[in-house]
């Protein structure tokens, strides 16, 4: 599924944000040695299997299992939605290659974006209209559906272009509610991490 939002801007060049959905099966083959694959495996290993308790601590950098393990794991995901609570809040540590959004607020404008080495910002304080709207859509959906979301993202805002793979990983509290969503990105425009993506978000909030 390709989704594109186009917003006209005063300077004439429209802002564009495009999501291209990717399957988790594809992730298994294309991201096994990237920050996205590592984050996904961490998330999977931290996910409670009995649906009742939360787990931790867990390994920072787990390795991928055998191919048969991976098939079973991916197949299990199809049963995940709404059946099990998401992993505990401390399941992932933020680092240079990721940011997270605190989704404890009821109103999505009050969700807080936490980026490494930067002051956290509320979504309502992101000045770029398209970035703000995309964040409301993305993180409202992840809060409501506690399952991973793997996509290719392309956007052009304020004349700045970005293209990257991104996985959103919901994290929960003891009640099973999604209180935090990690965004782990891998730039497709060169570079091995998403510092440029994080910087762009930070700039949009200034």
């Amino acid at each position: 599924m390709d989704s594109t939002i186009v917003l006209s801007t005063p300077n004439g060049e429209p802002d564009i944000w495009r999501w291209t959905e990717r399957s988790l099966n594809e992730l298994w083959h294309t991201e096994s040695d990237t920050v996205i694959g590592q984050a996904f495996m961490t998330w999977m290993s931290a996910r409670p299997s009995d649906g009742l308790s939360l787990v931790g601590p867990f390994p920072r950098r787990p390795t991928f299992g055998s191919e048969s393990d991976s098939i079973q794991t991916v197949a299990a995901l199809s049963d995940f939605d709404d059946l099990y609570p998401p992993p505990a809040v401390d399941a992932l540590d933020i680092d240079d290659g990721s940011f997270y959004v605190d989704t404890t607020a009821d109103h999505p404008d009050d969700f807080v974006v936490a980026m490494p080495y930067r002051q956290p910002v509320r979504i309502r304080d992101i000045t770029n209209k398209l970035t703000r709207r995309a964040f409301v859509s993305d993180f409202t959906m992840r809060k409501g559906h506690a399952r991973p979301c793997f996509e290719q993202i392309e956007h052009s805002t304020n004349g700045e272009k970005r293209s990257y793979m991104r996985i959103l990983l919901p994290i929960g509290n003891s009640d099973g509610n999604v209180t935090r969503v990690y965004a782990v990105c891998r730039s497709l425009l060169g570079g091995s991490n998403n510092n440029d993506v994080v910087a762009l978000i930070a700039a949009a909030a200034e």
């Binding site: 006209s8 999501w19 209209k129 409301v136």
Partner: protein
């Protein structure tokens, strides 16, 4: 066929100009122009009270009192399909790909208290739709947006140009 959607936002003035074309051809004013005119006439102190807005021509009303956009409730569903959405919430909508952008658009309209005009094109599950839509915010007495009126008009597909081969007589 790969599912896709494209949602292009433009100014309300641009949308009203587009809607005026039919009038210039002698057609009655479109429901979008009539809804916006009514909305503008009811505007008093920077907002339109929900109890003063009375428009019922193919309009969808969305209750936005829930903090979470997935909890926005369709009080009246004016769509052609999915009539079962009447009384249900955005989060209940059966096509997740539509819920995702609508969450942002409805939330933006509620937060900004300003109309939002778009052309929406999509092909999902083999169904293609092409329409223009205007979201109008409606407020309670305190100026808080508690309802959205969504008015839309389908864009009729243009007949394919006939090639010489299909129009030739033998």
């Amino acid at each position: 066929m790969i599912d896709w959607q494209e949602r292009t936002e433009f100014s309300v003035d641009t949308l009203l100009d587009i809607e005026r074309i039919g009038e210039k051809l002698g057609q009655p004013p479109s429901n979008i122009r009539r809804a916006f005119r009514h909305w503008s006439e009811q505007q008093t102190t920077g907002f339109v009270r929900v109890d003063r807005f009375a428009f019922d021509d193919g309009v969808t009303y969305v209750d936005t009192t829930s903090e979470n956009p997935l909890g926005f409730q369709y009080i009246q569903y004016g769509g052609v399909n999915f009539l079962q959405m009447h009384g249900r919430t955005l989060g209940d909508f059966p096509i997740r790909q539509c819920v995702h952008p609508c969450a942002g658009e409805y939330s933006e309209c509620r937060s900004s208290n300003r109309p939002l005009a778009q052309r929406i094109q999509h092909s999902i599950g083999g169904f293609m739709r092409d329409y223009v839509r205007l979201l109008l915010p409606l407020c309670d007495g305190a100026g808080r947006v508690v309802m959205l009126a969504s008015v839309y008009r389908h864009i009729e597909p243009q007949p394919p140009a006939q090639s010489p081969a299909t129009t030739a007589t033998y």
